[in-house]
Subunit: 161 residues, 2 copies
DNA sequence: CGACTCACTTGCATTATGAAAGTTAATTTG
DNA sequence: CAAATTAACTTTCATAATGCAAGTGAGTCG
């Protein structure tokens, strides 16, 4: 894309996509959660072009998803570590992974999630925080900070998908 | 990207990104859930170039996220409707939206989620299906269908992110 | 001194996207 | 019945993103 920015959009989904709307960004994040930190580690793991990796890492540092840290003074060596913002996104990634497991693993699961302490298998689902019930029949409505344009949008598309 | 495919990768996250790894695809999906169906509706709502919209819609139809249906014989008119596969992805999108609301709405929420029947506010979180507990200390491990390459990967990166 | 490592940068070719205009079939308007 | 309109594109051209390969520079190791 021609560096179109969604920051001006009010939609929180669009604003989020500013940070994670690129597959490379998500795969980098996946590897960062696995524990990868260094430029070369990401490069080898992902098979990404170095020029692209430089851009993607810079983007993610700029958008607050990664922090670039000097972990060795001499010689100067950097590592990229996930921020709190990125850590808060991890459950979303795990839900996405579970979706992939449900639909795109015809030959069986090659990846599974377990509790790090007990080893018990985990199956991520999305529920409402207070009721604990799965999200069915959700309606998206304008919030208090919605502008006129967005309100008109919702007025036109009053629908439960 | 030079149409690199992640289909050959075993990672279910990468395979999922094949379908939703593009921001346009996710925004099209968002609008489809809002009830938009026709080419022009998407075009106007998203401000996307028509040539790009054609490609994105074709992609999403090919990958099973949308179904192209003839809803009028004469004149021939088509609509794009979400498939079951896409509907199953919706909770993930809602979790992503909630993440956006938490972090990228400094001026307050412009979008909120409610129960379509009761109108009560909803707050999507990701939990384990059986315990109902939030996903903390999750470990990603090789599943039964994992190949050697993937197993070696996990052996090297034995870590709880 | 030379080889090696990390973290890039540069150059060139290919692909994706944007913007704007044109196309086609059918329907509505005057 | 000609003219305008609508839906759903296609085409063209310029720009931006990405891949691939090679090179760079600082510092360390032997």
């Amino acid at each position: 894309m021609k560096h179109k920015t969604f920051e001006n959009m009010q939609c929180p989904l669009a604003r989020g996509l500013e940070r994670v709307g690129d597959w490379w960004n998500i795969l980098i994040l996946r590897d960062a959660f696995y524990g990868l930190k260094r430029f070369d580690e990401f490069q080898e793991s992902l098979g990404i072009a170095t020029s692209t990796l430089t851009r993607r890492l810079d983007d993610m540092v700029a958008s607050g998803m990664l922090e670039r840290r000097l972990y060795c003074e001499r010689p100067p060596r950097h590592e990229y570590v996930v921020t709190d913002l990125a850590r808060d996104f991890r459950p979303v990634m795990l839900a996405m992974l579970a979706w992939g497991n449900r639909h795109f693993a015809p030959e069986g699961r090659s990846v599974e999630l377990t509790d790090a302490d007990t080893g018990v298998a985990l199956d991520p689902i999305v529920v409402d925080r207070t009721t604990g019930r799965p999200l069915t029949r959700v309606k998206v409505v304008a919030g208090p900070a919605a502008g006129d344009a967005l309100r008109r949008r919702f007025a036109r598309m009053d629908r439960v998908a």
